[in-house]
Symmetry: C2
Subunit: 422 residues, 2 copies
């Protein structure tokens, strides 16, 4: 194996450390500015520029109501067969449920970017996140184009600004990166994400979570989809804050090739090492999204084991993750495993209650479908005082399993979302 992860900070968030300069993929520049879309007046427009066309692949939401930038971005990638020069993101307005005017607004922003950066219209990839159903003030983004172009740069500060401008109700930037050595040469992989609410991304191969993954490896467009799908399936598609699948979810992977290091299926071990690094970066971003979810008090890792199939394991995980009664019990550090059992029971998966065992924070609470002998509720309660704990369910129906990351449901979540737009 010629590739080995040299450095990885995938478990840390940006707020905890500064971005090392040598973690930044070559061939990209970044900028952000404020154009007045966020009511808070914080930076709300971000731009990533590939100096030369980057090979690109994206995954979008499976919601049947999709935002204008999802429609436009998908079309652009199809037209160029996966080539991107410019990514333009605005936060504070989702440009969704805005009809033909929304599409026109999105396209006019792309046009302005294409002119500014002397590329084809279809080489511009647009993203929006924020409130649904409010016309996008395209003119604000268009008139800021020269300014954002003048701010572009490839330092850690520039990337940090990009990562902050795309946030909405997030409280901090979400960043993860990895560096690989391939045949003695470094390859960089850098990911930026935003999340906070409406988080249950169910991404389709053709995903208001926005994720941008940048690498300076050279990867043929044809090889990007399987790389991205592989990484997304166990990460972004296995997280949920509220079960609300957004209209705008997007994950974009761009490869500039500027490192000079080529990754192809022919070199299987390098490709595998890159895929592992990509998965690690995505897993870190996915965890950061849950950890910074609206009002989240606890991050809960669901581990479903001994399911008849992975699909069954995921169905059980989702049923637990979306049960308000389970989530509120977690908020109260309440070892009420009966609610978990009930959620398993209505998951539509064929289960046998007498075979089910449940562990919370390592403590066996339910054995063979009943209260575990000697279960000490106070001990379990103590384990649940931790911000992170695991709920492990053994179904006894087979050998399939899944990990699924979710959160509790707190009064703060309600407050944040009951006061959103009015």
């Amino acid at each position: 194996m010629t590739a080995a992860p040299q450095k990885s900070a995938a478990q840390n968030s940006a707020s905890e450390f500064s971005i090392p300069e040598d973690a930044i993929p070559m061939g990209f520049r970044f900028a952000a500015t404020r154009v007045g879309i966020k009511p808070s007046g914080r930076p709300d427009m971000a731009c990533a520029l590939a100096d030369q066309p980057a090979t690109a692949v994206a995954m979008f939401t499976s919601n049947r109501v999709v935002a204008a930038p999802v429609v436009v971005g998908r079309e652009h990638l199809q037209t160029t067969s996966g080539s991107v020069r410019v990514v333009i993101v605005n936060a504070g307005n989702a440009n969704c449920a805005t009809g033909a005017e929304g599409i026109a607004a999105c396209t006019s922003v792309c046009k302005a970017a294409a002119e500014q950066f002397s590329c084809a219209l279809q080489e511009v990839f647009p993203s929006s996140t924020g409130i649904i159903g409010v016309p996008l003030p395209a003119e604000k983004l268009i008139s800021a184009m020269p300014e954002i172009a003048s701010r572009l740069g490839s330092t850690a500060a520039h990337l940090q600004q990009f990562a902050e401008a795309i946030l909405t109700t997030d409280t901090r930037a979400k960043i993860a990166f990895a560096r690989l050595m391939v045949n003695g040469a470094p390859v960089r992989l850098f990911g930026v994400a935003k999340g906070a609410g409406m988080i249950y991304p169910q991404l389709m191969p053709h995903a208001t979570m926005l994720v941008y993954l940048f690498t300076d490896a050279r990867i043929p467009t044809a090889d990007l989809p399987s790389l991205l799908h592989g990484a997304v399936e166990d990460t972004f598609n296995c997280i949920s804050i509220d079960g609300d699948t957004s209209t705008n979810d997007t994950v974009l992977l761009l490869a500039s090739g500027v490192s000079g290091v080529a990754l192809t299926p022919a070199n299987a071990s390098d490709m595998q090492a890159f895929a592992a690094a990509l998965q690690q970066v995505c897993a870190s971003l996915a965890r950061q999204i849950i950890d910074d979810g609206e009002g989240v008090g606890h991050v809960v890792e669901l581990r479903i084991e001994e399911a008849a199939s992975r699909a069954d394991a995921l169905r059980v995980a989702r049923s637990i993750a979306h049960s308000p009664l389970v989530k509120t019990a977690w908020a109260g550090c309440d070892p009420n495993w009966g609610r978990i059992l009930a959620a398993i029971g209505y998951s539509s998966v064929a289960i046998e209650p007498s075979r089910i065992s449940i562990r919370i924070g390592g403590h066996l609470v339910c054995l063979n479908g009943g209260r575990a002998p000697g279960m000490d509720a106070n001990q379990v309660h103590a384990a649940m005082l931790e911000r992170n704990f695991q709920v492990r369910v053994t179904l006894g129906m087979g050998s399939a399993s899944c990990n699924f990351l979710t959160s509790d449901l707190t009064a703060e979540y309600v407050r944040v979302n009951a006061e959103y737009s009015t």
Copy 2:
């Protein structure tokens, strides 16, 4: 038509009026007592006795994890082909996830009732509601059997006590009744329910919502299922507080026959009138359950129209009703229709966003998938200050429709459920 509703108070809850003595079905007696299962020390054991065996039908939860009384009650009804003498209910303990001991505890309570009331074991119908996974203290119920028998009576006060003893986190008793004249003779129909949490009953023909329906009409057992299914489908199966389908949901209909009025399919118009009265009583109880749901601030009637099928309409309704983002917006009286549109989009129903319109409290907020021209957010907000309002969705895909009753999601719901058992 020989039957006409003479009197109906189905829209009122018990707390708002006293039960008229002539609303009480003949042939039943009721009692309640405290046995120390509810930590509050309030009455927690209830009994309904049919002086002669009543014809009976029940519907139970579709959850694959079912409580012991559901298992035992179903078996008893099968054995007797639908005949019940005694209903024994305890509140504060669901006797669920309690294994073989739970079944044995339930059976021992039924045995004590059978001895007390000199009937067959299988003529006893048991119900439990409360916390899951805690052994039922059967001995408390058994030793209270002589006392509860001594308290039986058929006055309004007795019925009121029955209705109160079955409550858990409910704040008030849920009662509805109707009186019909059939060929000049009165037939009485009386319903009692409890709800509050884990409320998304999906009842199966063979439902912690408990509903007891008593009538003094004489109805052959064979005719009861279609009557009850018809009434449940549009009422209890079209409500949800939190999407959590309970392990204990039960609806029981008992017909004593003591009025002397026989209802048979041969007399179609009488049967139809009775079915209508039954539906009205169930609809009232269903609304009372939502209105008294845990932390409920708003009762929202979803009206889904122009769906391709009723199944599609229901799927859209459930997706909206279970979206935490939609429910929190309602809690904040926030006319954020974009969240409703997003929930429609991920409902898995084939929709066309450009055909969708949404009305909140009578105000058009979304037209053809976008913001309705002239929509005044302040006006809509004002309409949402009402405790009850309607959300009407027009899909433009067909002619099927449904009504579905649900609630907002408040910080109080979180408080109630985060402090439940510890």
